[in-house]
Every structure is written in structure tokens, then in C-alpha cells.
Symmetry: C2
Subunit: 442 residues, 2 copies
């Protein structure tokens, strides 16, 4: 019913042959992978062909070799940054380290973490994204700071790294354009959840960005992209191998996302909580994860015997934060926006709070206006959910459990729908078990 | 990393949800299938979404219920023909019967078959296609008859069925437009080979066409779309069930396509061979299959105790053929076009011809100009391969085995490449085993 053309073509491969190979569980050859990624980027392979290939990859998998080659081909589609000219005060080569989180609810860790690590002389070139769906975006959070801008040129980024040591900004359009195009396609074709494609999407940008060390925070649980620990581990192992292959010192932590991180999920309220951490306070889980990730980044960058917990206490991290925000036009002393309206939810019974579902809180914050449904939507700086209790806390009937925040009160009802069944209160004496850090993969 | 929009949409379903359901091996609900086929036809589901769904269907399958609903949805995308007003000379309702072949090399059976069945008073509304790749197309073959035209309006078709009893013409654009669009997409996305989609593509057109009885000739072997008997059987069973569900009396034969049918593969040369059969002669295998399919069509249409073999001998089928060709503007007495150039290949050794590979002969005929690589290409009326011996024949070194025909002699070399290894000659006394009809599925 069909057959390949006997004629000649300017292309060395036929997209249908590549699709069929993966469909029929054959391993793709290096030149096939190089070609299909490049040809897709320049439009010689059509969207409908790439989406069929992506579905075949999702269902039939790729070997680590194929995934590594796919990653390399995506890196080759764009520019690569180079931080090798960065110098320490003593004139040596300055190490670089970056962190990537697969996304969760209340995950503001990048905000205190980047200045904390930079406080030890390691440059942190943190390229970040915006939120889509129920997980927040680091850039959306920072944009609630008056004046702060996410878009920097490569020269500005380099100069800020030299002067301040840390930068959190949007990835430029020049890095892995193949990934940008492919990600948009996967989003509308049900092919986001392919581990080889997730791994190569994340790692192509991080490797092209030129960081020397990378720590991956792979979230597991209801509020995470990976609900299941086995799949999260597979993703982490795939990414660590890709990083090591590319000469980037890479480590992954598997961390819990059954419950939101900290007591806030939103934008300005997460900046506020980050400032508490930088001031030596803040919720225990946020502090624990920030310190642990900082230790991993410093170790991966070759800096040992550092004490990041102390640098939160003594103001060194806060000093870097203030310079970092100011360098990008932000006023670190300006008051943060607040939501116009609020509604508080109360505990229905006495007992111990043993469950607070991350996905429900994330969807509620999203529906309140903290997140976006489409890339082109704006977010509300003040919207979100502020928690008054975390699992483990004793509660009494009628005590406040959480406050919903929005500028648009018609959103309260759908946010509350998302929260139905999200809270579990058990009889007094119950103890919820939570391990924040589930595993380390190196 | 992604999530469905909390907003409202004019569409009752989200394409990504439907894709994910099939990706995750869930059964699609009737309204989901109705929606996705309809929305794709009107452009609300994009090509890249449908191709991802098609790949998921190919790899994860569909149940018979899903396939039946998919077929119904494709039928609903267009018009349905209705032959219930056709009358017998006695005033009764005239039965209709059609045949569909999944395509093979040298498969000209429709040409003698349609007039043969019509000779018994059964109306044969045979909607046919053009060739793509190594299998020929019935319309391409008939178009080698000077003046003959494939395109008829619905009224012309009905009037010809009343007057002549048989029509072979192109399917109008109004029948199952969803299938037309989906087939073109599958062709470029490596998703042709999905049995539920093949079955629904064929059956949606046949059911919409309105035939009362249908005989399916499902080819098996190197020159067929299905190389493998188990998959051919699965396709046949799926289609028979779809036909019966829709109230069409449906039977399938599994027939051999390891070796070409008859002694010709091309266009005009296949018409010539069909005329030999209609004149009571012709190659044994073509006669056997024509008669057997005629018996099945007549039985399925409720006509028993007919003797189609006799109607080939006594000229009744030829009479209908001449009227049928003339009704569509063709001159049944005009000389057929001949290729300008020929090259004959000779037996390399004495022995018995035991193998003559159908795919090789089909690709050679295609490369000589009998077939097309793209839908918009023209075919050469005179091009093709004429065989001088079939498996079972004794041959002597230096005797002609086949003659290649083309208007463009630069094509000989690539045609001969396709034929390398296609011929197997065994020592005298060997006997090739060929069963032409492998099974019957009802």
C-alpha cells in the first residue's frame, strides 16, 4: 500500500524509514538520529512525522546510547555557552554549578540556593523556565519583585556571573532550538511522558549552557511529574549518565513531592518565604533541601568543607541575593505585591494533619491565578495558597489550615474544588512519615 | 510539565486526553472515537495529534468494538450511496456485490470479475483506486484503454449499473473523507501498518458505497502488503466482522501472493491478459481466482447454482465487459498501447522454475514506469513485466524467462537490480508447491 520512492532526494534518510525502525523496536543508528533531529529543526521532517516518532519512542523506548546521541544532536542544533574564562580571585579557573528540578509544588529552592552556592565562590548560571500547569516557574516567582527582568543577553549573563557569582535568567533562544520545537510538539501530542525525551530535553539545555557541575532534583509523588519512584529513578539514572558522558559532574537526588515544599505555593509568597530562608529562618523542609542541594553542588564543583547552613545564618547568602536581584533591575527592598482577596479554610476536626496533597494544592494555586494554562497567559504575582499547617502538626477543629489568595475572587470556588479530599486529619497521636530525600544517584 | 487547561473549550474532548488513553492502553469510549474522527476531519484535531494517536493505535491495538466505532465514524464523515432502487427484470430488488483486494502483483482480477458477476444479474458497483508503490491500481490498468474514464458522478454510476450491471470507477470525494485525510497522513508517518486502521479504511469506503455483499481478497506473501499469514488472517477476520456488523454479507479469502498472478504485471498488458480470460483462455491461476471470487460474490448476493466458469467460455462475461468499457467512453476494439522498448531476460540454467518472487517483479514493473512513487506521478500504459514461465515450468538455459517493457530504456538497469535473486531454478524433477487459495473466512 506504500513504498519508498525509487527517485532521488536531497535528504540522506527518509523520515518514514526512521519512524518504522523505532516502531518495529530497532535501535536507531547515530547518523539517523543526527539527521532526524536536524531535519526536524529545519522543517524537512514534518510535525506529524516527529510526533509519530515521539510516540514510538515513548512506547518502545530508546537505549542509553540512542538517548545520548539524541541529546548531542539537540545540543548541536544551537549555540553552546562557555564559562571557562571565569576566574577566581586568585586567578584560577572558577568552577560552575547548576541545579535542575523536575518541578513541584512550592518548589522555590532555586531562589535561596543560587546565591547560597555563589557565596562559596562557585559561579551559578541558573537558566530557568516559566510554569505551565500546576507546577510553578522560577522566573514567574522572581518577576513578582518590582523591576526584576528575566531576559539577559549572553554578555550580561557572563558579566553578572563575574561580578555577583549567581544569575537566574531565562534560557536564550539560541540554546538547543530543537528542544524548544520538540517540547512544544510533545505538549500537544501526548508524548511528554517519554523518559528518553524528558532526559534529553533537560540535559541538552544544561550541557549546552556549559555548566561544569549539575545537581538534579528529581521529584517523586502526587505533585511531581513522576508519580512513581521507579520511573523517577529511571529518569534520574538516564540523566546522570547523559551528564557524565558529556563531561559534566552530575548527581541526582530523588525527593518527596507528596506534600508541597514549605508553606507557600504561588509567586510573591514564595519569594517571601525564600527571603525568610536567606535570613536564617524559614520552613524546615525548605532549609533542609536547600542546604543539601548546596552541599551536592559545592562537592560536584570541587568545593569541600563548606558549611552552607552557616552561610544562611550569617547573611553571606543574603548578600549575594541582594546583589543578584539588583543586577537584574530588581529592588530587593521593594514591598512585594499582595493578592487583593483572600479566603481561609479551616480544620474540620481535631487531630493530627497527616496528609496534604501536593497536586491538589498546586492545582488550587494554579486556578487562583498563580500559574498559566497556556504559554501566552499572564500570572498573578500575589495569587497562591499559604499553608498554616504541614503534615505532622496537631490541629483543632476551626483552626485555619490554609489561606487562598487571588486578585479575582470568582476563582475561589474552582480552587476549593481542587482541594476537596486534599487534607487528611487522623486521630491525635498519629505520626505521618515523610522522608524528604529518598535517594541519591551518582 | 504539562496539564490540561482549566478553561472552557468549544470542544467536548481534548485530543491529548484521547491520545493518552490509547497510549496508556485504555479502551476509547464511543463518543471519544466519534469526536476524534470528526474533529480531525474538520481540522480541530491537528495532523501531529492524529499521527501520534495512529502510532499509539498501531502499537497498542484497538478492540473490535473500537474498530467498529472508528469505521462508523469514518462513514459518518461523508455521504452514503444507496442502490436499493436497482431492480431486476422481474421487478424485484437487484442484489449488489463488490470485491476488494488488499493489492498484489499482477492482480487484474477485478477486470474480468466485475462483468462476469454482472452477467448473472447481480449489480457490481466496483469503486477502485490507483496504484502506489509496487502494487498496481485497477484504474491505472483500465486507463490504458483509449477513451476510458474513471471519474463518474453518482448519477452516471447508478445509470450504468441499471443499464450494464457493472461499473468500475474512482471513488468520489464524498465517500468517507475522513479516510482520505487519514490515509494520506498514515502514508507519511509510518502508521499504515495498523490492522484496525487498515480494516476501517477499507471497510468504511465499502460500507459507505452501499454494496449488499462483499468479498475480500486478502493477499499473503512477498508481493502483498501482509507478508505474514497470521497478520493477514487477523486483518481478514477484523474486516469480515466489520462488514457483518454493518449488515453487509461479507466473506474473505486468503490468497497467495508469493508469485505474481498470471503472466503480466503492468497496465495495458494486464488488460490484454484479462481479455484472454474473458475470451475463455488466460493463465490458469487468474481463471481459478476469478471463478472462485465470482462464486463467492454470487453466493453472498444470494445467487446460487450459477456457473461462472461457463460464462467465461460462452462470451456472456465478455459481452458485459464490452458494454461496461463503452459506457465509460472506452473503445473495446481499440488497440492497446505498447511499450517502445523491451529487454528480455533468459534462464541461466536448465531445471524447474520453482520461485519467482512477486515483490521483485512488482518493484521491477514499478521502476519500468507501470507504477508511481507519488500520487501526482503519471504511469506508462505500456510498461511492465511479461513473464514467459511460471513456477512449475521446466526451463532450459538460454530460454526467455521474462521481458521488461518501458518507454524509457534508462529504467532497465534499476528494474534488473530489483530482479536480482528473484528467480529460483531447481534441478529437473523438483515440484514447487503453490496453494492459490489459502483459506476462507466468513
Amino acid at each position: 500500500m506504500t513504498a519508498s520512492s525509487p527517485g532521488v532526494s536531497a535528504e540522506p534518510y527518509d523520515a518514514v524509514d526512521v519512524i518504522r525502525a523505532k516502531r518495529d523496536r530497532r535501535e536507531l543508528a547515530d547518523p539517523q538520529i543526527d539527521w532526524v533531529v536536524d531535519a526536524y529543526t529545519r522543517g524537512a521532517v514534518a510535525d506529524e512525522q516527529m510526533s509519530a516518532l515521539a510516540m514510538a519512542i515513548l512506547l518502545n523506548g530508546m537505549t542509553q546510547r540512542e538517548t545520548a546521541r539524541w541529546t548531542t544532536a539537540m545540543i548541536a542544533s544551537g549555540e553552546r555557552l562557555d564559562f571557562s574564562s571565569l576566574r577566581t580571585p586568585g586567578g584560577g579557573r572558577r568552577p560552575t554549578a547548576d541545579k535542575h528540578s523536575t518541578g513541584g509544588v512550592g518548589d522555590k529552592i532555586t531562589l535561596p540556593l543560587a546565591p547560597l552556592v555563589a557565596a562559596f565562590g562557585v559561579a551559578v548560571p541558573q537558566l530557568s523556565g516559566r510554569g505551565l500547569g500546576h507546577t510553578g516557574g522560577t522566573l514567574d516567582k522572581l518577576e513578582s519583585i518590582p523591576g526584576w527582568r528575566a531576559q539577559l543577553g549572553n554578555d550580561e549573563m557572563m558579566s553578572q556571573l563575574e561580578r555577583v557569582g549567581a544569575v537566574i535568567c531565562a534560557a536564550g533562544a539560541g540554546l538547543a532550538p530543537a528542544d524548544r520545537k520538540l517540547y512544544a510538539l510533545r505538549d500537544v501530542t501526548g508524548t511528554v511522558e517519554a523518559i528518553p525525551l524528558i532526559a534529553s530535553s533537560i540535559m541538552s539545555k544544561k550541557i549546552a549552557e556549559g555548566t561544569g557541575a549539575l545537581v538534579l532534583d528529581v521529584k517523586v509523588g502526587s505533585g511531581a511529574f513522576m508519580k512513581d519512584e521507579a520511573r523517577a529513578r529511571e529518569l534520574a539514572e538516564t540523566m546522570v549518565a547523559l551528564g557524565q558522558d558529556a563531561g559534566v559532574s552530575t548527581v541526582a537526588l530523588l525527593t518527596d513531592m507528596e506534600t508541597p515544599l514549605g508553606l507557600t505555593a504561588g509567586n510573591a509568597i514564595e519569594v517571601e518565604e525564600s527571603l525568610e530562608v536567606l535570613a536564617g529562618g524559614g520552613p524546615e523542609d525548605v532549609v533542609e533541601l536547600t542546604v543539601r542541594l548546596a552541599e551536592e553542588m559545592l562537592a560536584a564543583a570541587g568545593v569541600h568543607s563548606a558549611d552552607p547552613a552557616r552561610a544562611l545564618q550569617d547573611g553571606r547568602a543574603m548578600d549575594v541575593w541582594r546583589k543578584m536581584v539588583a543586577a537584574q533591575g530588581g529592588d530587593p527592598d521593594a514591598p512585594l505585591p499582595r493578592a487583593k482577596e483572600s479566603e481561609t479554610l479551616y480544620a474540620p476536626a481535631d487531630g493530627v494533619l497527616v496528609g496534604l496533597d501536593a497536586l491538589s494544592v498546586g492545582v488550587a494555586a494554579w486556578r487562583l491565578g498563580a500559574g498559566r494554562a497556556r504559554k501566552e497567559d499572564a500570572v498573578q504575582a500575589g495569587a497562591g495558597v499559604r499553608l498554616h499547617a504541614k503534615p505532622g502538626a496537631s490541629v483543632r477543629a476551626g483552626e485555619p489550615l490554609m489561606t487562598l489568595l487571588t486578585d479575582t475572587p470568582e476563582r475561589f470556588s474552582r480552587a476549593k474544588e481542587a482541594l476537596e479530599g486534599a487534607v487528611t486529619i487522623a486521630p491525635a497521636g498519629s505520626r505521618p512519615a515523610r522522608r524528604l530525600i529518598l535517594d541519591r544517584i551518582a
